[in-house]
């Protein structure tokens, strides 16, 4: 009898195979755990390469032995179906498990067990093998608030608190007020936000000292840029999407021209132009703040993408919806507002979320015009002569921040999708 047949389970003796197979798999995983966590190697009596691949081979044999269709055991069936349907997939699965196990101890050691968080100077980290979280701790305020003067940080905090408070107003709108909820969020809220940011963060009146936008930075700047970017690029994109499908040639071609232009240029050049070239076209006494120019550039840029996403949704609607709306006597705007857009926007929630996430992650590009949000501050800290050599910690910190923000947005978009789901 050849080897393959020995490894192949049959229904009548599957119990035995299951015990032996899972035993082998257990041994293989156990071996890897011993190797990575305790630096023990009980197969060291084997010659070099065999020793190295010992767990993989044992594991493969084990998986081979439990591979039987409709075995009657739910867990085994699930494993066979998803990761063990052939030798190649079984091998990949084992490899991924083993590599994860092997990578865990060093990663944990670096991030937690050998890491330093005490102290306020670089010296605290000298001689340590692990990460230097002291660096993040010392620079934390800079990462959050940029070069904004320390004694005024409460102004940023208060402004954000107020804005979050106003954001929840919609939840408490009841009865007749509910009809104005869209109006509130689309028009009123951005205006409030602008006023609050202007007076509280920018300052210059009510006895608050003026802080120029060049000093703004860190995560708070990321939020400000993303917030205005998101809030304004959406309606602009919507209008462009409708424009591109308009029956009036002038409007259609303007929309097409706009969209194709902005989609064709890289964001980094747009930002650069907005800060360097744009002032040259203005009369010498006119002044538009750099931050406003940059946010405007981002809005104009992202609106083109939003427009195309929304157009996709518009195109997915059957013509019958337009027919029905028209036959009821609705004009263009009533048809769009009550019938077409609610359905189209619902369809494109995932696409919009995609574009919005991209926008948030594009904000670090504003460094080209000298504005430093989180990543920009990171660059600055990284090249500070007193704190050289901690780029890794900084980038990990920034990744976690961005991941948390983007994951929250992604979850929220899923929630919206579920909320507005109706059966067709």
């Amino acid at each position: 009898m050849n080897n393959i047949n020995v490894l192949k389970p049959r229904r009548e003796n599957f119990q035995t195979y299951l015990y032996v197979g899972s035993g082998l798999i257990f041994v293989s995983i156990f071996d890897v755990i011993l190797r990575s966590f305790f630096s023990l190697n009980f197969s060291s009596f084997l010659p070099g390469i065999l020793n190295l691949f010992f767990p993989l081979i044992i594991g493969l044999v084990g998986l081979q032995m439990i591979r039987l269709e409709y075995s009657g055991n739910r867990i085994v069936d699930k494993i066979n179906e998803s990761v063990n349907n052939n030798t190649f997939n079984a091998g990949l699965t084992l490899l991924i498990i083993f590599l994860t196990l092997l990578a865990t101890p060093p990663a944990l050691n670096w991030m937690i067990f050998d890491a330093t968080i005490s102290g306020d100077t670089k010296e605290a980290c000298v001689g340590s093998e692990g990460a230097c979280w002291t660096y993040i701790k010392v620079w934390f305020r800079r990462f959050m608030y940029g070069m904004y003067p320390n004694e005024f940080h409460w102004r940023i905090n208060t402004a954000f608190m107020i804005l979050i408070g106003f954001a929840f107003v919609g939840y408490f709108m009841r009865g007749k007020l509910k009809n104005y909820i869209t109006f509130y969020y689309a028009i009123f809220y951005p205006i409030i936000a602008f006023i609050i940011i202007n007076f509280l963060i920018s300052g210059g009146s009510f006895g608050l000292e003026w802080v120029e936008t060049n000093a703004w930075g860190g995560l708070s700047l990321t939020f400000i840029v993303s917030f205005f970017g998101l809030i304004f690029c959406f309606p602009l994109g919507m209008i462009l999407a409708l424009g591109r499908r308009s029956e009036l040639p002038v409007i259609r071609y303007i929309s097409i021209g706009y969209i194709e232009f902005w989609r064709g240029v890289p964001l980094i050049t747009v930002l650069f132009m907005s800060s360097v070239m744009f002032p040259m076209f203005l009369p010498s006494d006119a002044f538009v703040d750099k931050l406003i120019r940059v946010i405007a550039a981002i809005i104009l840029f992202e609106a083109a993408y939003v427009a195309e996403v929304i157009r996709g949704g518009l195109q997915a609607l059957p013509r019958g919806q337009y027919d029905a709306a028209k036959s009821l006597g609705m004009g263009y705007w009533r048809m769009q507002i009550f019938v077409i857009l609610p359905q189209a926007l619902k369809l494109v929630i995932p696409g919009i979320a995609n574009t919005f996430l991209a926008l948030v992650k594009d904000t670090p590009l504003i460094f080209v015009v000298g504005l430093s949000e989180v990543v920009g501050m990171l660059q600055m800290a990284k090249t500070n002569p007193k704190w050289l050599g901690f780029a890794m910690e900084g980038y990990i910190f920034a990744s976690i921040l961005f991941w948390a923000i983007c994951y929250a947005m992604s979850k929220y978009s899923q929630y919206l999708e579920l909320k507005y789901k109706t059966e067709r």
Partner: protein, 244 residues
């Protein structure tokens, strides 16, 4: 009979090079019920879609309730509001409940107060016997119920004319009857109706006249009894022999 509410004179329409309507002459008097039949691709649907200008005709004249339809027509929405239409695919708005489907246009086009619009909608839904489904969404209803809801929605605008574009063609056989019953009731109530359909039983029961179309032309138009008893045109005879 009173005067004509719809007049079509020498109406021609092309889709690209293909002529869908050839010299259509048709006038419909108030409270008249007309059934349009004919093989598929004969231009029946296009004909009635021209009446509320979902399709634009290129030559000829269409006058609906005293207003001529053309590019110059200013308030096409006003005319459409007076001409209700029921579609083959129902075309209910899937994001709105049945009640909201029915009240949307009265509230926003006719500026009816919300309360009154809802009362009217419930009355219309009662008429087509689905008032108990008012709070459901279209996707939760059967085809027959959806089509009756679509009928109620059109009636909520209190139109003078109702157009039906193959209202039963997308339905399961057992649901056809409930929709036809609703249409018969509407006909008895004295609505002006133009119905594109293959339901000859319905035609015999309610139609004053039957119009037979083929290849974009009106081949024959006759009183219902004459049409079925002694059709004059050979094409009509062939058509009737195949479907009856």
């Amino acid at each position: 009979m009173s005067e004509s509410i719809i007049q079509m004179k020498e109406v021609n329409k092309w889709f690209g090079d293909f002529q869908v309507l050839k010299d259509i002459n048709l006038d419909v008097k108030e409270k008249q019920k007309i059934v349009v039949c004919g093989p598929s691709g004969s231009g029946k649907s296009t004909l009635i879609r021209c009446i509320n200008r979902l399709e634009e005709h290129q030559k000829g004249q269409i006058i609906v309730d005293g207003n001529e339809l053309s590019e110059k027509t200013k308030d096409i929405e006003k005319i459409r509001a007076e001409v209700g239409m029921v579609f083959q695919q129902f075309n209910l708005f899937p994001h709105l409940s049945i009640l909201d489907n029915c009240t949307l246009a009265p509230i926003w086009v006719k500026k009816t107060p919300k309360k009154k619009a809802e009362e009217l909608a419930m009355k219309q839904l009662e008429q087509v016997q689905i008032s108990d489904q008012a709070m459901k969404f279209p996707g939760q209803l059967s085809g027959g119920q959806q089509q009756r809801a679509a009928l109620a929605r059109a009636l909520c605008m209190e139109p003078k004319i109702m157009l039906f574009d193959e209202p039963t063609s997308a339905l399961d056989p057992e649901m056809i009857k409930e929709v036809l019953d609703a249409m018969v009731n509407l006909a008895k109530a004295g609505m002006t109706m133009i119905v594109v359909t293959h339901e000859m039983g319905f035609a015999k029961e309610v139609a004053d006249e039957v119009v037979f179309m083929d290849e974009g032309m009106i081949v024959e138009r006759a009183k219902t009894n004459d049409f079925f008893a002694n059709p004059k045109n050979d094409r009509t005879k062939l058509f009737l022999s195949q479907i009856l």
